[in-house]
Amino acid sequence: MTANLVGVDRSVEEAALSLGASPLVAALKVTLPLIWPGIVAAAMFSFVVSFGNLEISLLLVTPGQTTLPIAILQYLQWKIDPTIAAVSAIQIAVIGTGLLITDRFVSLAKVVQRQ
């Protein structure tokens, strides 16, 4: 995200202002489209990290709510069967699909390259 923001040239916004765009219009038409890949990528990575997180989630969950990693841990304490492998495979598929869909709209290759 920071890398993406640093990559945006200030003079591009000034160019928009000189052409008659108010600061709000310049932000919407120029700045936002330029930092959009960074925002999406940052959101994506944050999601992946927090989705897989176990320690903090264990501390934060209230009774009645649980996250998938916690459920997996609890399940593993009592049984050993291929269900967990199946769940993991589905997880990988879900995240993979998420990344592919994101890549359709913003080029992740570009974001990673910039960093």
Partner: protein, 352 residues
């Protein structure tokens, strides 16, 4: 009528005075060059005219309007940035159309005017390309088309040629000048390159350390620079220290040279002589203003050759001659000859 007027404009950054009390007028259709070494305040001046930087004092007027406190988007200006600052996510067509879209121009008219603007900068077929698919020279032309399409009151060019290679720079310089004269658009160009300034400007403003040193046509500045800084920044110059006599018609050095010069300030302490205004002779021939000299260094520069000549123990001068007359062996270090200084091109300069 002046299109742009600066009235005692200053800019301070804390203690540092970047621009110190600038007053100047840019006439309708004129190309004015702000010329100076880097950090002299020329870009700050341009940014104040554009409205990107607030003036600390003074007033900026564009046409009849005091725009000192107006934001850039209400000034009707066209700016070409040093790095072009094209919108990387928009294609060439949308880059150029940006200003018109902000003005809510109808689609058909946008299409027509963008086509005309792209034809003007000879990029007719590239409307659908993205900026990163263009060469540096093409990007620069898109930036020019984008700035011109809104028919700005004044076009501001911030070192527009400095990112181009030397050969292309020469072509683009001619091209920009042609466009500017064709459209008769009032233009302010910022540069540190004196060749660029001389070849493009109707008038030049020479700036050093935040102060205007001199304003004038290229010819004025070259022939009668007001101080040694202007003389050495605009072209090459020889400086000889001494004092003026006979009401500024004769310049006498401590080493005993008496050089007839153009009518100059009687307070002059420096004599400026352009390297190409000095003739080389084999004999003294009894002419006026002829002095013996010894060749110290001969430097071959292609179309010209540069000779360093020693006049006295304390004075050397540099003379340039077309290389056609400087056949190797014609002049050699250690050779004795005579120099004739044309009085009309020797100008005395008084200290500030």
């Amino acid at each position: 009528m002046a299109t742009v007027t600066l009235n005692h404009v200053s800019k301070r950054f804390g203690e540092f005075v970047a621009v110190d009390d600038f007053s100047l007028e840019v006439a309708e259709g004129e190309l004015l060059v702000l010329l100076g070494p880097s950090g002299c305040g020329k870009t700050t001046t341009l940014r104040m005219i554009a409205g990107f930087t607030d003036a600390s004092a003074g007033a900026v007027r564009i046409r009849d309007r005091d725009v000192t406190h107006e934001p850039p988007y209400r000034r009707n200006i066209g700016v070409v940035f040093q790095n072009y600052a094209l919108f990387p996510h928009l294609n060439v067509f949308e880059n150029v159309a940006f200003g018109l879209r902000r003005r809510r121009t109808a689609d058909e008219e946008i299409a027509r005017r963008v086509a005309r603007a792209l034809a003007l900068v000879k990029l007719d077929d590239l409307g659908q390309r993205l900026p990163r698919q263009l060469s540096g020279g093409q990007q620069q032309r898109v930036a020019v088309a984008r700035a011109l399409i809104i028919e700005p009151d004044v076009l501001l060019l911030d070192e527009p040629l400095s990112n181009l290679d030397a050969k292309l720079r020469h072509d683009v310089r001619q091209e920009l000048r042609r466009l500017q004269q064709l459209l008769k658009i009032t233009t302010i160009l910022v540069t540190h390159d004196q060749d660029e300034a001389m070849s493009m400007g109707d008038r030049l403003v020479v700036i050093e350390r935040g102060r205007i040193q001199q304003i004038g046509s290229p010819q004025d500045l070259y022939r009668t620079p007001r101080n040694p800084f202007v003389a050495s920044f605009i072209g090459q110059a020889n400086f000889i220290e001494g004092r003026s006599e006979r009401n500024g018609l004769l310049f006498v050095t401590p080493s005993g040279l008496s050089i007839a010069c153009a009518p100059s300030d009687a307070q002059a302490r420096t004599l400026m002589i352009r390297p190409e205004a000095i003739d080389l002779l084999d004999t003294s021939a009894g002419d006026a203003n002829v002095f013996p000299a010894t060749v110290e260094v001969v430097t071959y520069l292609g179309s010209t050759s540069e000779l360093t000549l020693r006049l006295t123990a304390s004075e050397t001068i540099i003379v340039t001659k077309p290389s056609s007359t400087a056949v190797p062996g014609n002049w050699a270090p250690g050779q004795h000859l005579y120099v004739r200084i044309d009085p009309s091109s020797a100008v005395g300069i008084a200290p500030e």
